[in-house]
């Protein structure tokens, strides 16, 4: 009954009709431009565009994660806070599908952010460093910066792919917290704390000899280590990490949907 895409369309409107989403996209692009111009004015043009793009992407993906978490955390929580959840739920749709439409719109927004970041860093650095470039990466440099792949462009695509995979898990976590606690602030705070704060302990934790540490979510959120220049010698591999992330993902999704379906809406 009805068309599910219409629900997603509704949720998209709620994201894109608000100034904050466009401010986020603007900040992302502006930051990329700023870093490139600073690099250009202090470092000159003796750099490969790929090197700048890779560094920029690494820094700005952190910013992108924060933005996406804000959107993911506010989607359900704001409906509760403003009371609009009541009018949203009393339609001929199951709660699961309404929640799914929100989830889909969040994931689409995250992909859009990543695509914009990719395109803008690529374009800006091509303009700043790429046109008539005197620098060409030799074999060793290429191996160092972009190992095991067929060229820098393919490497960057893979890098974004890995980042998006772990972003999806992070966003699902934020979505779960906001659905269960109905508080956007708590969801944003908690997910970012776990993400930024705990990530700093990950390296420390890695030295501990406990078996269970290998099963912590945060040991596996950085998938780029499997394609990067600095391979960690911790014995883990990509498939093990994906397996752990997948297990957490299933638990997050199951909890989120269970709680949302059971809840008495008394806002």
């Amino acid at each position: 009954m009805g068309n599910f895409l219409q629900l997603v369309h509704n949720e998209n409107i709620k994201i894109y009709k608000r100034a904050r989403s466009w401010v986020m996209l603007g900040i992302l692009v502006a930051s990329a431009i700023l870093i490139s111009i600073l690099w250009l004015s202090f470092g000159g043009r003796d750099t490969s565009m790929w090197e700048v793009m890779s560094t920029e992407s690494m820094i700005l993906f952190m910013l992108l994660t924060i933005f996406a978490v804000v959107i993911a955390a506010s989607s359900v929580a704001e409906e509760f806070a403003s009371g609009t959840i009541k009018l949203l739920l009393i339609r001929p749709w199951s709660r699961s599908k309404i929640l799914l439409s929100k989830y889909v719109s969040i994931m689409l927004f995250a992909v859009l952010l990543a695509a914009v970041l990719f395109a803008s860093t690529w374009l800006i650095n091509w303009i700043c460093f790429g046109i008539n470039s005197a620098v060409s990466l030799d074999e060793t440099q290429q191996m160092l910066l972009f190992p095991g792949s067929s060229g820098p462009f393919a490497y960057m695509l893979m890098y974004y792919g890995m980042k998006l995979l772990s972003l999806a898990v992070t966003l699902t976590l934020a979505f779960m917290i906001s659905t269960i606690f109905r508080s956007g602030a708590l969801a944003i705070g908690l997910s970012l704390f776990l993400l930024l704060g705990v990530n700093n302990f990950v390296l420390l934790l890695g030295y501990l000899e406990y078996e269970w540490i290998d099963y912590l979510l945060f040991m596996h959120l950085d998938l780029t280590k499997y394609i990067g220049a600095t391979r960690l010698e911790d014995g883990s591999n990509l498939w093990f990490s994906l397996g752990i992330l997948g297990a957490y993902y299933v638990i997050f999704v199951a909890l989120t949907w269970y709680v949302f379906n059971k809840r008495d809406v008394a806002a």
Partner: protein, 306 residues
């Protein structure tokens, strides 16, 4: 009575051992404006939340057009349009975008229908403005608009006159009566504004402490041959009482210059004739009809929170 479009059967809600709603049973026919009256905290909003599936029922079930809210929610809710508490809308969207949002969720609602509804609630001039800029009255109208968008058979309005000015209240009242009569839909209105309910509703259910206390018919009550307390202003109350006692009535003195009798319409005319024949000057006769407020306070015992 017409076929009931809504049937609440033995509906109970308990939260943590506390009974919020206690075995509520109600039938609502099409074409009637049904009032749901109760003091604050009596369970009005909880009942409405259960009727639209926002809250689960601990016991019992609610059927809308034969579909169970608990088991066939998506089918049952199609026939329902509602405002639960305040009409909260997406403030960062325009009124029109808000309506389109809800229109997209139900198949078959055209843009033409949206415009029709906008015109109906009188928001044509401001529909493209952001809801943030709306007054409470305008939001209430927008709330009504989203509720009737899909031509529901049951319209549930929680405190619909909140924030409306007298003209707005009157307009809404006339409109609801029109909807009930012309479109033949059932309208379920909750309120604690007694006088408002009296003007708006055909029947009123009174709820207190989660229990249904009474269901009363309001429309048509005046025309029935009921005895009422009649107050007659006279110049000599003592003489009037004697004159009326002589004609078989049982008057009592009411204040300095008036007497009161319990009688029906014919009795009033007879009493007047007796008084005039007895040389008593009659300055005024008025029937003291019990208002819904009196009845309400009578059945709820004047308690505010049960």
């Amino acid at each position: 009575m017409a076929q009931p479009v809504v049937r609440l059967q033995n509906v109970s809600k308990r939260i943590g051992g506390r009974t919020i709603i206690d075995r509520l049973t109600l039938d609502l026919p099409l074409g009637e404006v049904f009032g749901f009256l109760g003091p604050n905290g009596s369970g009005k909003t909880t009942t409405i939340r259960m009727m639209v599936g926002l809250m689960s029922m601990t016991e019992g079930d609610i059927w809308i057009n034969g579909h169970s809210i608990a088991k066939e929610y998506e089918k049952a809710i199609r026939y329902v349009g509602a405002i639960v508490e305040n009409p909260e809308m997406y403030k960062y969207l325009s009124g029109y975008d808000n309506l389109m949002h809800y229109a997209r969720m139900i198949p078959g609602i055209t843009e033409h229908r949206v415009h029709e509804v906008v015109k109906l609630v009188g928001l044509e001039g401001r529909i493209q403005d952001k809801v943030r800029t709306y007054s409470l009255g305008m939001r209430q109208r927008l709330g009504v608009a989203q509720a009737i968008l899909h031509k529901p058979q049951l319209l549930i309005l929680d405190e619909p006159t909140n924030g409306l000015d007298p003209a707005g209240i009157r307009e809404l009242r006339d409109y609801l009566r029109l909807l009930a009569k012309e479109e033949g839909i059932a309208i379920f209105v909750s309120s604690h504004l007694l006088s408002e309910m009296e003007l708006m509703c055909d029947r009123v259910a009174i709820i207190q402490g989660g229990k249904l206390i009474d269901v009363r018919t309001i429309r048509g009550a005046e025309s029935r041959a009921e005895t009422a307390r009649v107050i007659i202003e006279v110049d000599r109350p003592q003489g009037a009482i004697e004159a009326l006692q002589a004609s078989g009535l049982a008057p009592v003195q009411e204040g300095e210059q008036a007497i009161a009798i319990e009688t029906d319409r014919e009795g009033i005319a007879a009493a007047n004739a007796a008084l005039v024949a007895g040389g008593i000057k009659v300055y005024g006769i008025r029937a003291h009809v019990k208002s819904l407020e009196d009845q309400f306070l009578e059945v709820t015992g004047g308690e505010s929170i049960g």
